[in-house]
């Protein structure tokens, strides 16, 4: 399938999911109500619900999915390993730790930008540590192992914060927040994270050609004039910006970056550059679909989005490992 056609198809599915997302909520609104509310007509309560609650939720879902799907595709291209994911190289856990610090010390209450800034700073810090340990001329295995170590460190620090938390309510707030959710996010959250997701996205999209050349091997790529160092920095910083921003807005939503590029890869004939845009769209589709599911599954308090994506993603991860082992033996 041509990548442009694939992207158009994914875009169409995404539009349908956005419509579904606008239709679903505690209040029963029909399509006419929603259309009217979108242009500011009709019952003011409905206008508020559609414009201020459901639309930001759908937009943030798109941002979160795009950031995670695109980062996954770019990292898998960079590491030439289908198991790479922002979660695996420690970006998500570092961002999560940064956000927990902002919540724990109450900075997030005083200054709304503290949460994304702290999450992105820690994501970038984790990633820079990764580059310092496994940056120059190291193999893929070193990079992945370093990522796992950094991820463990970030989780340990997060647990330390929870361990020392003086207040059981703050503790449950941190835990719930780490589970990931799009509930009751406002346009402020969208505005806060969008510039960073866009910036990171542009960096990663621009790495497409380098990633294509890299499929020939690191030496071949270097001999063809691709600066590996620059490529690594570009993808890793792009990923830190995008993932840090969405973790700050929605908490940890796992496995999107792993599942989506893997599902779409056969459709783009395994070309990393052709996988980037479809993975961003596919990520948005997966997150919006999961967010519809958490609203549809009947439960006393709404299921957390990250719980659902992990429930689907973790078995997928295991199946992927098994498939790789079988194809080798």
């Amino acid at each position: 399938m041509r990548p442009a056609f694939l992207s158009a198809l994914l875009g169409a599915i995404l539009s349908l999911l956005v419509l579904a997302s606008l239709h679903l909520g505690a209040a029963a609104l029909d399509s006419a109500d929603i259309l009217a509310a979108l242009v500011g007509q009709g019952d003011p309560r409905m206008v508020t619900i559609v414009q201020e609650i459901r639309l930001p939720r759908a937009l943030l879902g798109i941002l979160v999915g795009c950031a995670l799907g695109l980062s996954g595709a770019a990292l898998q291209g960079l590491l030439r390993n289908p198991l790479a994911d922002p979660g695996i190289i420690g970006t998500s856990a570092s961002a999560g730790f940064g956000a927990v610090v902002a919540l724990y010390f109450g900075w997030a209450l005083v200054f709304p930008w503290a949460l994304p800034l702290s999450a992105m700073t820690c994501a970038a810090g984790g990633t820079l540590l990764l580059l310092a340990v496994a940056g120059r001329d190291s193999g893929t295995l070193t990079l992945i192992l370093s990522g796992i170590a950094i991820s463990s460190l970030a989780v340990a620090l997060t647990s330390l914060a929870m361990n020392l938390s003086p207040n059981p309510f703050a503790l449950s707030e941190i835990v719930l927040w780490l589970l990931g959710s799009l509930k009751d996010r406002s346009l402020d959250d969208v505005v806060l994270s969008a510039p960073f997701v866009l910036g990171g996205g542009v960096l990663m999209m621009a790495a497409g050609r380098g990633l294509d050349v890299l499929t020939l091997g690191e030496e071949a790529a270097a001999s063809l004039g691709v600066s590996l160092r620059r490529l690594r920095l570009q993808v890793v910083i792009g990923g830190a910006l995008a993932v840090g921003a969405v973790v700050a807005a929605a908490g940890s939503v796992g496995f999107v970056g792993l599942v989506v590029p893997h599902l779409l890869r056969p459709w783009v004939r395994h070309r990393p550059s052709a996988l980037l845009l479809p993975s961003a769209l596919g990520g948005a589709i997966l997150v919006l679909a999961a967010d519809l599911a958490v609203r549809l599954i009947p439960a006393r308090s709404e299921l957390m989005l990250g719980v659902l994506t992990s429930l689907v993603g973790a078995p997928f991860f295991l199946a992927l490992i098994l498939k790789m082992r079988w194809s080798r033996s």
Binding site: G25, A26, A27, R45, T48, I49, E52, I53, R54, A108, P166, N167, P168, F169, A170, S172, E173, L176, S181, K183, D184, R185, S186, D188, D189, R300, S301, E302
Partner: protein
């Protein structure tokens, strides 16, 4: 003339009732105030835990009221003019509601009777039912006086425990209820401040005269039952008097603390049940 005054008075009452804000609570701390102070017509909804008799003191009332998930959309659709939320949690929902112009009162879990009275009076004021709040506060005050009069001369030493081994020292709601019932908390005597853990070794070295336990009966709510399962703790709980205080009386510190204190006092007089 008299009839005219009557009509005017009824109209005034009706007008004030119509103007009074409809209130939704999205947390247990709010539920116990809203459920105790307001008429059915003024309650837009209580939290989704409000009808759980193991956690909520207003469970019986909550059965006839809408229960709301803690989501901005549900609160708006319920037509709430004011929302009462716990001090912590649901941050995104509260921020969004405030942004949409719905005032949100954050209610603390009180750690003393004085704080519980302040919270009750302040919240009652903000919810335009100051008179009901004052009446309830006065009743609590009277019941406290009665309790203090019947307090034992030498306060019995009581160890408070949750199933996970958590206890309560000075400056906690549990300590306030124990004191009001004329008891001394073991954790307080050992110098603990605030909420913390009273480890088994300390308990063995400083045996209390009785236990006050809570949250033991609520199966699914207590995943961490390390204390409750330990043979040493089980032995002590089997041999010393045990007062099992219903969790809903102090799941959020507030006016129901008086009921916890009365419960403790009543069961201590009966000698507890080993």
């Amino acid at each position: 003339m008299r009839r005219l005054i009557l009509v005017l008075a009824v109209m005034a009452v009706a007008a004030s009732a119509a103007a009074a804000p409809r209130v939704a609570s999205i947390g247990l701390c709010g539920d116990q105030i809203v459920g105790a102070l307001l008429d059915q017509s003024r309650i837009a909804g209580l939290s989704h835990q409000a009808d759980d008799p193991a956690l909520s003191v207003v469970a019986a009332r909550a059965r006839n009221l809408p229960l709301l998930p803690a989501s901005a959309e549900a609160v708006l659709m319920a037509g709430a003019d004011v929302v009462v939320a716990n001090r912590f949690g649901d941050t995104k929902t509260v921020n969004l509601l405030q942004k949409l112009g719905v005032p949100v009162l954050r209610v603390d879990s009180a750690e003393s009777f004085d704080q519980a009275r302040d919270i009750l009076l302040r919240t009652g004021d903000r919810l335009e039912s100051a008179a009901a709040a004052r009446l309830l506060a006065q009743q609590v005050e009277n019941r406290l006086t009665v309790l203090r009069r019947s307090a034992p001369k030498v306060p019995p030493l009581v160890a408070y425990y949750r199933p996970d081994g958590g206890s309560a020292g000075t400056g906690t709601s549990v300590n306030a209820a124990l004191e009001a019932a004329g008891m001394e908390s073991l954790a307080t005597r050992l110098g603990m401040r605030g909420w913390g853990r009273l480890d088994l070794e300390t308990l063995v070295m400083n045996p209390p005269q009785a236990f006050a336990i809570s949250f033991f009966g609520i199966g699914p709510y207590s995943a961490r039952r390390s204390f409750a399962r330990h043979p040493v703790a089980r032995h002590m709980l089997a041999t010393l008097p045990v007062i099992e205080v219903p969790a809903q009386l102090w799941s959020c510190g507030g006016w129901p603390l008086i009921e916890a204190a009365e419960f403790l006092s009543r069961h201590h007089h009966r000698g507890g049940e080993p």
